[in-house]
Structure formats: structure tokens, C-alpha cells
């Protein structure tokens, strides 16, 4: 792993921690009460009184998620048309790009649906990424690669998703579990950033 990849991992971890905090605070505190602060001008006070801060926090998460997915999807499609198109098996870049663009659009379109659906979607994505980690780890194990950390990450993500799904009817609990999973993923990124990696020498 290069130093830039390590920095990227740490930045991703910080972003995940930030998102977890935004979601948790929006669910814990009654920000509408801030409208009673006498120094506020009437327009701002009215906005704070009527705003749905929970919904805003979900929208922030979905917006960031869709921007990341969109950027990744566009990058993959650009890579396919400029380079991978001429590579054996390069079409997988195109499929990956289309899949991520789709997910970006779905994430963006979820801005104005009920909270339960948003949470169900986010939990579904968490379970999906956990399953990918588990399959990846099993593949890595077959070929004597690094698999333990990946397997652990996959199993824990699925466990979080399952647990959150059970609490889908109580959104506050569900959000806290989701926040915990974000913090856990942040921790994994930090561990990855500081992990030593082996490689095959070429001479």
C-alpha cells in the first residue's frame, strides 16, 4: 500500500466517523428547541422550528454516498473506454461502472422517501458489502492471501445489518446500530492504513 493509499484510508475513516456523528447527534438531540434562542432572527428561528433534522442527516448521508458512487462509476466507465476496452476481461470495468452509477442514482432518488425505507436501503447496502467481503475473504483464503481481516469485516457488517434490520420498526435504535457499523468500518480503514503488506518480488 502506498503512502497515498494509506492517507486515503485515513480520510475515508474520518469521513465515516463524521457521518456517524452527524446521524447520531441528529437522532439524539432536539435541535428544534434551538429555535427558542432569543437572539435569533424570526426567519431563522422559524426554519429551525419546522426543520426535520433527522431527515436532513439522512439526506447528507445519502448525498455523500451518491456522490462517491457516482465518482467511482464514472471513473470505471472512463477507464473502460480509454484503456480496459482492449484488455482481456476488461468488460468487468464497464459492468462495475454501470452498477455503481445505478446505485448512485438510487441513493440520490431516496432523498424524499420515508425514513424506514432509507434505513432499509442503507442496511441492505451494508449487508451487500459485508457479503462481498466474506466472498472475497474465502477466495483470498483459497489462494493463501490475506483473508482474516476481510472475513471479520464481512461477518461483522452482516451482523450489524441483521441487527439493524430487526430494529427497523424503531428508527432511532436502527440509526444507532448503523452509526456503530460506520464507526466499525472507520476503525477497519485505520487498521488497513497502518497494516504492513507483503508483495511478490519481481526481478
Amino acid at each position: 500500500m502506498t503512502i497515498w493509499q494509506r492517507i486515503k484510508n485515513i480520510l475515508t475513516a474520518l469521513m465515516l466517523i463524521g457521518l456517524a456523528l452527524v446521524l447520531a447527534f441528529a437522532n439524539t438531540f432536539n435541535f428544534n428547541a434551538l429555535a427558542d434562542i432569543p437572539e435569533l432572527d424570526p426567519e431563522t428561528a422559524e426554519f429551525i422550528r419546522t426543520a426535520d433534522f433527522n431527515m436532513i442527516s439522512y439526506q447528507i448521508v445519502l448525498l455523500i454516498l451518491s456522490v462517491i458512487l457516482l465518482a467511482y462509476g464514472i471513473r470505471q466507465i472512463h477507464f473502460y473506454f480509454s484503456m480496459a476496452r482492449y484488455m482481456n476481461g476488461g468488460r468487468s470495468s464497464l459492468y462495475r461502472g454501470i452498477l455503481f452509477l445505478d446505485l448512485a442514482l438510487i441513493s440520490f432518488s431516496f432523498q424524499s422517501v420515508p425514513v424506514t425505507y432509507i434505513m432499509a436501503y442503507l442496511i441492505g447496502l451494508m449487508a451487500f458489502s459485508g457479503a462481498i467481503d466474506v466472498f472475497g475473504a474465502l477466495d483470498a483464503r483459497k489462494i493463501h492471501g490475506h483473508w482474516k481481516l476481510k472475513l471479520l469485516r464481512g461477518i461483522v457488517s452482516i451482523a450489524f445489518a441483521f441487527h439493524a434490520f430487526l430494529h427497523l420498526s424503531t428508527p432511532r435504535h436502527c440509526v444507532y446500530i448503523y452509526c456503530l457499523s460506520l464507526l466499525y468500518n472507520a476503525l477497519m480503514h485505520i487498521i488497513s492504513a497502518f497494516r504492513r503488506n507483503d508483495m511478490i518480488a519481481i526481478q
Binding site: Y86, N88, S93, I143, H144, Q203
Partner: protein, 377 residues
Amino acid sequence: MNSDFHYYATYCAAAIAEYTHEEALDICYCAQLVDHCTRTLLKKLHAPVSAATTQMQSELIDARTDIIGLQNITRIWASFHFLPRDLYAEPGRGSRRYKRKYRLICGPNGDLLVKTVKLAKDNTLQAVGIAMHVLADTWAHTYFAGTPSLVINNTDRDFYELIPDGEYYKRRHIVFGHNPAAKEDPETGAYTASVYQSSENSIMNLGHGRAGHLPDYSFIRYLYMPAWSNYEEILKDNPHDYLHAFAQMVYAMQYLRGEIPDFEPGNYAWEAIEPYRSTIENLLAVRRTDDSEDWKALGESITGETIRPFNLEEYQEEYINDHDGYKYDTFLGEFFKAATAQKTMVTEEIAKSGSRLAGSARDVKKSSKLISMEDGK
């Protein structure tokens, strides 16, 4: 290629080309040193880091893969281990970026090989040793490029070893492991390669990492589909290629000694190696990962002298302790000079072809301390 070929086989080739025992030892020492002369070693010796001819695993792991980092990597690997065969090749498809990477695919008998050998003409034995390393690797590393590239260097599951079975060959599917500590075993087909990384510029996609050490084994024949081959299978016949590499080394060294007026690609010293040909063919065919003992025995039988084993530290003290201002003329000083010249030549040629993948010759010199070296500081 490993030390068996770069050290002992190069000694044999030099001896057949009628270099003396001591000269042959210097040549093969330098040919082998190319695989050890890292930035880390150069820093330890207070030598110019621009003379690096290879990179350690630890250096590669932390290597930057932005444009500057890629240029550093490409300068080293394309100049010394994956000499491009044709910098003006037309793949007939793909973007300019794809074409530039495609043109770095290594192969024997290219224009750059001629320039490499001619650069060593009337030059030091160190330059001859470096040229022989580069020449030999053009045969072993054919079809891979000395720059990180998924679209060029990737391999897939269609990877088979051809094992002699009577008059024919049987195919054995190769499934690469990825544990660098695992021992390779030609008998069971346990081979190790770098992990698949979908990132184009991942260091895992440098050179023949995705085919593991297979290009470095003289006995192996393998059938696979390189990423750039448009779904065509390619057979790599190492016993054939290694024999050609050996015969071409002898031919090149005959030219460098002035016995042949010109070095032309595609020519080999078949006549000179004829007395040893069957011995060489037999030792190349043995299924093992190191042929050093047999090459050593052959070399000693040619010159009647003992070939001392490669010792990385042999000339280091001389270089470190030379405070009289003549570091540049020490054994290692001459090696660094020749390595820098080779790197500058290849970088310039790549830049001339319109590609910035290796940077420019100015970039080689930028990090160099040749001026202070000449002053002996």
C-alpha cells in the same frame, strides 16, 4: 531471471566470448549487481540515487503511483529489466494512454537492445555486465511491460504449464497462490503471483508480477492470455528463449570485444556455443528453480578457474573509503556511471517516442549527484 543466469551463465557466456577469467567475473558481477542496486543500497554508500537499477520490495510497497512515482518506477524497470521492444509499435486500437503503455512491452531484438549493446562498446566491463543483464531479461520478460499497468500486465485464469510427456506435452492448469512466504514447487505446480488489483497503476501490476516467477524459470513452458493479446493465447517457451539469450550474450560480447564489426539483432553465436550446447540445453530443461550449481560447473570447466560466489559487499568498502576524489573511478563508481548512462539513454528514447511515462533524461540527472561525485565529495 535469477542469479543462476545473470551471474553464472553470464560468466560462461563471457568466457566463451574469450574474456579472461577476471574479466568474466567482473562482467557477471555487474550483471548480477543490477538486481541489487537499490536506492536503499545507494543511500547507504552515499552514492547517487539516480543510479538505482532495481527497487526493493519495501521501496515498491511505499512507492507513489502518481505521475512522478510512476516515472521513477518506469525509468528503473523499463531500462534494466523490461527493455521495450518497439517504442513505435501500433496496437491499432485504444487511446493514446493505452498506446503508450502498449509500446513499453518488453521483447528481444528491438532497437533499444541494439542501442544498449552499442552503449557498452568501448566502455567499461561494468557497462558490459549491465548490457548483458538487460539483454538476457529481454528474453525472460517478453510480453510484460516495466511499468505498472493492469491493461498490459494482467493475467487471468487461463494459465497453463506445458509439461513434457513423451513426445508431447500435457497441460497443467496453474492456480497462483499469493502468499509471498510460500515455497514454490515445480513438481506440484505450486507457484506464487501478485494479487489481482483492479487499479490500473497498482504496483501489483508491475512487470510479470501477475505471472509470478514463471518468466524467471528456465525449464518452464507456459500458455496464457496476456491482457493485451486480444484473447489470443501465447506460448512462452523458456528453454528456447534462455538458449537464445545465452547465444545472443556470447554474440554481443564478441562484438564488444571487437571480434565482430557490428551488432545486429537476430544474430546468435551458435557456432561458438556448439561444444556446450547439449550441456546447456540439458541444464535448462531440469525442473528446478535454481540452476546455479550446473552453470557454475560449466563455467569452471570452460576456464579451469574457480568462480567465487556473488558477494554484494565485495566492492563496497573500496567505494566508501575512497576519500581521494576518485570515487567515480572505483569499481562501483564505474557501475553507477554505466547504470546512469543506460537509464538516461532509455528514458530519452521513451521521451522521444512521445511518451512521458518515464519522464525525461533531465529527471534522471535531477536526482543525480554526479557533479559532486566527480569532485569526489
